[in-house]
Homo-oligomer: 95 residues x 7
């Protein structure tokens, strides 16, 4: 992946539908916005806070994460479909 | 539960309808947004304030809490249905 | 009441309609949002300001208050109907 | 008046329609929101600014003021109809 | 004029339609919000910034100004029709 | 031009349609909001930031600029039609 | 290109449709807002943060970038069609 996200953005490779089920996560039907799971491919350097200090992104490459699709953007790079998200759209990380 | 919430997010296991009644809490019918009760399973590390200091989440694992569903996201992990909330959506804790 | 409000939230026991009249307060008919009166049962620890200092709630247990219902949530705990409010929804306190 | 306003709120006794005219103020017909006049009965202690300093209310008891009704709440206490306003809804004071 | 504006508010005496033309200012027809001209009668003491310092109003009594009507309120005091504006609704001053 | 803009406002003399073309700038048809070009006639002193420091306007008299019309106000002063803009509505300057 | 963007704005030369495909990036069909690719021609000096420090733009001339069109403005200068964007509308840079 030759695409480097800027600021607090994160590039995620979305799980296939089957993987999601295998991984034990099924989304309940009445959720307002269906979150999804995937693996982090790239993270940006973080975002500056009001005092000019860099706040790093709270996930790292290889993390499997649960995220909301709302703020994200889907792109296909060299045939690979990925998601570009802001880090605040990532709700939780699988341990 | 192998899911770790990020920032000030909290994972809550929602009470069954019977539990809620047994626990002595019945929601009044004319509430704008019906709050619900549940038990805290996991808490995030907290949120950074404007000066970069970490503000911890005001509840801990095992707390039984009253929360608003509006900002939350329901997910089912390994067959267990849970709620991911921001800590500001938690109104009160049972003592 | 075994429910502890979080942050700047306050739990109020709403006056019965008769009490309100006896207490000398009748709401005018053309108010945008009808305020109500009640007695404070529990107060949260307060809210952090931008510098991380705790701003305590401006009312205490036992205070009789005038509040707007808009931001509040009604719940019934052990058969007792109460209101959970943010402290900024409390307009005035009876002396 | 046994009601003490909280924060930067102010309790105002609205002028009768005749008084307003006698006092020399008539509202123009094409105003977006008709302001009104009245006398300040009670003032709150003020509002905390971002640094935690108390900003006092810019009017005092007895001041005759011009205010916008939009943000206010009308209540009748012991038969006396009054208005509870935030201090920013007070536009000007009569000297 | 016995009315003192509060904060960063300004009282302006609106030019008559003929004056506006005489003064050389005609508003173009396709403006989103038609600005108007008038003379400043009274200015408030200014507004506190986030650090509690007073920011004075950038115009003074007697200035002829160009302003947007949107945020203003028209009142008639002792037969004189005036406009109460926030200072940010004043766009420019005639030199 | 005897009109002095306040704060971070800027007065711009809009290019004639022919000038725009001569100057080599043609606006693409599918732009959300058509920007325009003109010459800066007057600039305000700037805007105070949160710490009370003056942030000067990033253009000067005589600059030819590209700006968005959305936030501006058109006025005709002594027969000359000009635009009053906030400095953030100026996108770029011709070198 | 004789046009210098102000603040944190960036001028980008949008890729031709064929280039985008050749470059290996195809946008997925269900994206909320289709991002696009292009090459940075000019960058502004950056934006002042709340403390008055200049935050530089995170891309430089010659970078090939992925951006969202939403906040941008298309203009044609000397026959060349370009895009003026805020730097926060640039999601990622190709390495």
């Amino acid at each position: 992946m030759n695409l480097k996200p800027l600021g607090d953005r994160v590039i995620v490779k979305q799980d296939e539908a089957e993987e999601t089920t295998a991984g034990g996560l099924i989304l309940a039907h009445d959720a307002k916005e269906k979150p999804q799971t995937g693996v982090v491919l790239k993270v940006g350097e973080g975002k500056l806070d009001k005092d000019g200090n860099l706040v790093p992104v709270p996930v790292k490459e290889g993390d499997r994460v649960l995220y909301g699709k709302y703020g994200g953007t889907e792109v296909k790079v060299n045939g690979e479909e990925v998601m570009i998200l802001r880090s605040e759209d990532i709700y939780a990380v699988f341990e």
